[in-house]
Amino acid sequence: MSLTAGVVLLPFLAAIGLGFWGSPLRGAYANLVVCGVVFGLTLVVFLEPDAGALGGTVRADRLGMMFGALSGFVALTTAISNLDFVRGELERTSPRRWRVYHAMCQVMLGATLLGFYADNIGLLWVAVEMATIAATLGVSLPRTASALEAAWKYFILGGVGIALALFGTMVIYLAAQPAMGPGLAAMSLSALSAHAAQLDGRLLTLAFVFLLFGYGTKAALAPLHGWLPDAYAEGPAPLTTMLSGLLLNVALIAILRFRHLLQANADAGGGAMHPGPFLVTLGLASLLLTAFSLWGRRDSRRFFGFSSIEHSGIAAFAFGIGGVAAIFAGLLHILLHTLIKSALFQALTRSAALRGGAAPGNFGFSHLRGMLASNKLLAWLLGACVFALTGLPPSGLFASEFLIISQTIQRQPLLSLPLGAGLVVSAIAIIRLIGPLLFDPPPRGVIEVKAGAGIATVGLHLLLVLVLAFAMPLALVRMLSSIAGALQ
Amino acid sequence: MLTLLLRCVASLLHAGLMLGLAPLLIGLVGKFRARLLGRRGPVIWQPYRDLWKLIHKIPLIPDTATELYKIWPFVGFAAIAAVALLVPGFALNLVSARYSDFITIIGLFALSRAAVMLAGLETGFGFGAAGAGRDALFSIFSEAALLVVVLVFGLIAGDPTVDGTATEFGFGQIGVSVSLGFALVAMLAVAVTETGRIPVDNPAGHLELAMVHEAMLLEYSGRYLALFQYAAALRLMIWFSLIATLFFPFGMAQAGNILSWPLGLLSWLAKLGVLTVALGLFEISTAKMRVFRVPEFLGVALLLGLLSAIFLFVAGRLNG
């Protein structure tokens, strides 16, 4: 039983365990331990790259390993901040629902890792579908009217997306028939990318459109983004961090892999259309739509939900532009955005906890204003996270956006106009928050409170972002550029 | 070596004449105007007697004034006196010819105007601020017009200094042209505004509504007032000799050879006389303008400056 299979199955086993035993607090500690082990394992997987497992359906290639390690790290830090969340919210929900909550966290982690390591496109689809179901149950946990409405919306839109993705998977299988015949070979990503030229181009393009819509729903690209803001705003806090960190990346990486198939076929003259225009259209649509949706928001988690849509739109746009440097920039952007966004949600949860509980209701901006009065360090960390989203230099996103804009200028100069406009408007909408969030007079009766050690993870995330953006070690640079080259 | 010595002597003579005759010029203009109006008018050396009287009075310093009260008169006087030495009078190629750059002269005018305005604001009472505000308004348009006229001279003569331009106009074959005519009218308008003569400001009158230069000096007395009034006289002398050298350059002496000095002196005094008569006639023929009519008057001057530049291009008289 090879290592990758172990990494994938451990969270599911833990989920079953967490689902039935342990008080909420003990469940949280168990969750932390499992996440720690899983993260360790994801690092160990780096030692034996491309090792097949579970009958060849699970294979950790370099892209999968990198994002697997990232998800492991985010899950670990979320589990750490989950401890404070559970201690604060202990009496609000029944022990049974806490067990369901921790089980769902583990299922989501397991599904994400399966999504990254899966080589079989059917298995990839199952992983994403399982993550959707887990997230739907998670979102509906708080049992408020708006949580139910968010879950219903999530289920309907997610379900439609999953159906389209399944249809796309089947059409890919059909497109692979003439070249690779029936059986498992026609569904393994590595084999498909090896024979990309011989696939039936026409069916491959049809499959890519459906897959783009299926996984685009999970990646929250423009017309398919409806579920994300409500799911972020209504679900229990740490779940939002997991949702934002892990699920979007699974879908974006899946789109990137299928884009490679289509691009290779189109380059080899196999009759397929170029994937660029599709991705660029969805990317720009989500960037421009969210740029103007950010302005009216009163609830902070819904606001940062829209910002997640915007950044996955930017990543899709970078993949649409194509070329090694653009793919490199897109991957770097996803890496940095995941770290910043999960740090932000952890800091947000902590600050809501300081202002009377992290229930979905009290994440409003007017409720969180004047954070400096509550806790200086947490306020500055929260301000740093929000500022990191704007893309102005001290934030890491400047490096990746710089690369993306420079690639757009060189390949499609005209597209740089909407891209630039979208980036500027959304950055202004984000930067507008920092003033009131930190420096406004706080609501009445707010006193200085200790924030506990949990916020160290936020600082760790931001430090990692700075290192990755402005001083990336050479080994990592070589690895990322080789991945981008392979997926070119 | 001899010419250098002669040039120094000429410069000293020039300085003595400019500084000495300035109050006389004021007296002459006053006397001529009174005669035109049918009055006998004060004796022509009356300004000297006024200055002498003021020097011997003890100045009354207002208690709300700051220590700089005593400095502004000296700054104003020094600036105007420096310009007086720079602008050539009866002879060209003086020692200070190389420094008599148009922009420096405009700068020194601005410095003396700033000193007078600050003197007005010194005591913080109503009249000074009102006068300073009006002077600021007039200075905006006059400086713009002056710069455009300087552009025209620069393009015709190609030399940035007053001395070079005068020599070019005098001995170069410029001859009378339409653009120089416009430039002369614009220069006259600016001169009238700068020296505060009738259409813009009433030098003799004390009517509060009409005061511009008078209002800024209300709080001054004694020797400080004398300095300011002497500076005002110098300003009139400078503008007369500036217009004389630039627009009527014939008959000017060369500082180098002493033989041409008498002719130069005579022509210079004759020109001053002609300009005094012209100013007197102009003053009695027009009434004082309302404060907000002056910007249009100066606007016309600016427009004439622009036209002279454009006509210059049309006439193709461009050299260099």
Binding site: E149, G159, I162, Q177, P178, A233 | -
Partner: protein, 219 residues
């Protein structure tokens, strides 16, 4: 005996007919019977495909489809409609005729996209794929033109039938596909069930307008 693939082709056509008929229904009960018929035909097609490709997985899919979508789900849906006395008509967003025209357009698009201009070897599977794609698109159209939550779920189920039809049409698709389809049906039912009872608790009826009211307040 008619050649097997032309028979499965005919059954696929029948499923397409049911999906198209679904568009025109106004009453919930009629929609439930139509979806039941569609499921039954689908399970029959699964059995035939299983016999043709002698892959036993298809038999399993047929049984699951018959058991859950053919019998259990319509029964549950009818019980729900009876409990909330939802016999009354289902308001549609646009006139039925108009949605029928759009349905025809969708089928045209599906055919244009799937069938290549040059006929390739596996034209038979291409036609099945075109029909499956049409059923999926019609299912989506039903979902987007109904205001009632339950009718949206029925549209979703029709889409899934299209997917299963495409899956059984694929020659030699490995076993994993069948299991995942079954998993989907099972979990979908579970989740829908949970929701329906919760919704009843909170909104006293199944109409989506309640939810839309919350949304319109806007956040």
């Amino acid at each position: 005996m008619m050649p097997v693939n032309s028979l499965s082709h005919a059954l696929a056509g029948l499923i397409l007919l049911c999906a198209f008929a679904l568009l025109s229904q106004r009453r919930l009960a009629a929609m439930i019977t139509l979806i039941q018929a569609e499921a039954l035909v689908l399970s029959l097609a699964a059995f035939i495909q299983g016999y043709a490709q002698n892959a036993d997985a298809l038999y399993l899919t047929g049984i699951i489809t018959f058991a859950i979508k053919g019998v259990l789900l319509p029964m549950a849906l009818r019980r729900i409609t009876r409990r909330f006395n939802l016999i009354r008509a289902v308001e549609t967003v646009m006139p039925v005729g108009f949605s029928m025209i759009i349905g025809v357009g969708l089928i045209g698009i599906a055919v244009m996209v799937v069938l290549p201009s040059a006929a390739s070897a596996a034209t038979q599977t291409r036609e099945d794929l075109a029909i499956a794609l049409s059923v999926v698109l019609l299912g989506l159209l039903v979902m987007t033109t109904r205001r009632n939550a339950l009718s949206q779920v029925i549209g979703f189920l029709s889409t899934e039938n299209g997917l299963v039809l495409a899956a059984i049409g694929m020659p030699g698709m490995p076993f994993v596909a069948e299991l995942s389809v079954a998993l989907l049906v099972l979990l979908a039912l579970l989740v829908v069930g949970v929701f329906v009872f919760q919704l009843r608790e909170h909104f006293e009826d199944l109409d989506l307008s309640g939810i839309e009211a919350i949304e319109r307040r806007g956040r």
